[in-house]
């Protein structure tokens, strides 16, 4: 029963998240690029998207940190890592370069799938391929070390 509530809640949250992305203008790549184009005719809208989200988020996460269990009775999966390392920085730089190239980040790209836009489909297929490449590389990268350890 808990599983069903978890799944239903995840669907509603995903839907609300998608609606927020649409209202905020994040699903329009031209608008995203207008925000990233600080040297040109700058559209500051997306700073307000981030600001509005963080305003609510700060309160929620303050409250979440004090809880030992979620409302639906599960564990609190708060990130444990505080490492600032090469992976974090290189990965984020690569992500930012891709974000600037097309104006899509993962959430808005998925929401744009729902409009049937063929360009969104191409982007999402490439993005999932990129994630799969990462999984494979990560797997093989760690393989020799695992073998050495045996």
């Amino acid at each position: 029963m808990k599983k069903t509530f978890d799944t239903a809640s995840a669907f509603i949250v995903g839907l609300l998240f998608g609606i927020g992305l649409i209202f905020g203008g994040m699903t329009n790549p031209a608008k995203v690029i207008g925000f990233l184009d600080v040297a040109g005719n700058w559209d500051p809208s997306l700073a307000l998207v981030m600001g509005g989200a963080i305003l609510v988020g700060v309160v929620a996460f303050r409250f979440a940190r004090q809880r030992t269990q979620s409302f639906l009775g599960g564990a609190m999966h708060l990130p444990a890592s505080t490492d600032i390392n090469q992976r974090l920085i290189i990965g984020s730089l690569l992500f930012g370069a891709g974000w600037g190239l097309a104006g899509f980040c993962p959430g808005p790209a998925l929401t744009s799938l729902g409009t049937g836009n063929p360009k969104a489909v191409i982007f999402v297929v490439a993005m999932v391929a990129g994630m799969a490449i990462y999984e494979l590389a990560d797997h093989f990268w760690h393989q020799p070390r695992r073998l050495n350890a045996q």
Partner: protein, 143 residues
């Protein structure tokens, strides 16, 4: 630099942001999960039993959002200037980068900054900086 007042949508963007914050708040409080899209999607590529349905449900909600809004609002505007080659390169970079850096605009940008995490602040500065640099090169150096 000049401000693009014509396309500036302060009210709608603030409303969108508050909805994103509310969704992230509900997810951490009700499900105990971080609303980080790249992590939710990427986790499906390394599936573990009992860890699949909530991911699929969240992503489905995200995808059907424009369908649910369609009867009430004018069609969503999306201007995508990138051609097929650029879209593929961009998608690959976003896919590899978000997994290697363990997060994207939602996980590091919204949830991480809301948690006041220095790690997410560094990630957000890195991807925003790289995004701005890329747009600068594309729009002002190569164009």
């Amino acid at each position: 630099m000049s401000i693009d007042w014509v396309n500036f949508t302060p009210g709608l963007s603030l409303l969108g942001g508050i909805l994103l914050g509310t969704a992230s708040a509900l997810f951490i409080l009700a499900n105990g999960r971080i609303a980080g899209i790249s992590g939710i999607l990427g986790g499906l590529l390394r599936p573990r039993s009992g860890d699949i349905f909530w991911r699929v449900a969240f992503l489905l909600g995200l995808i059907v959002a424009p369908v649910v809004l369609a009867p009430f609002l004018p069609p969503m505007i999306a201007t995508i200037d990138a051609g097929t080659g650029t879209l593929i390169a961009a998608g690959l970079l976003v896919g590899v980068g978000t997994r290697y850096g363990a997060g994207c605009t939602s996980g590091h940008g919204v949830c991480g900054l809301s948690r006041l995490s220095p790690r997410s602040l560094v990630a957000t500065l890195a991807f925003m900086g790289a995004g701005m640099a890329t747009v600068f090169v594309m729009r002002h150096l190569l164009a």
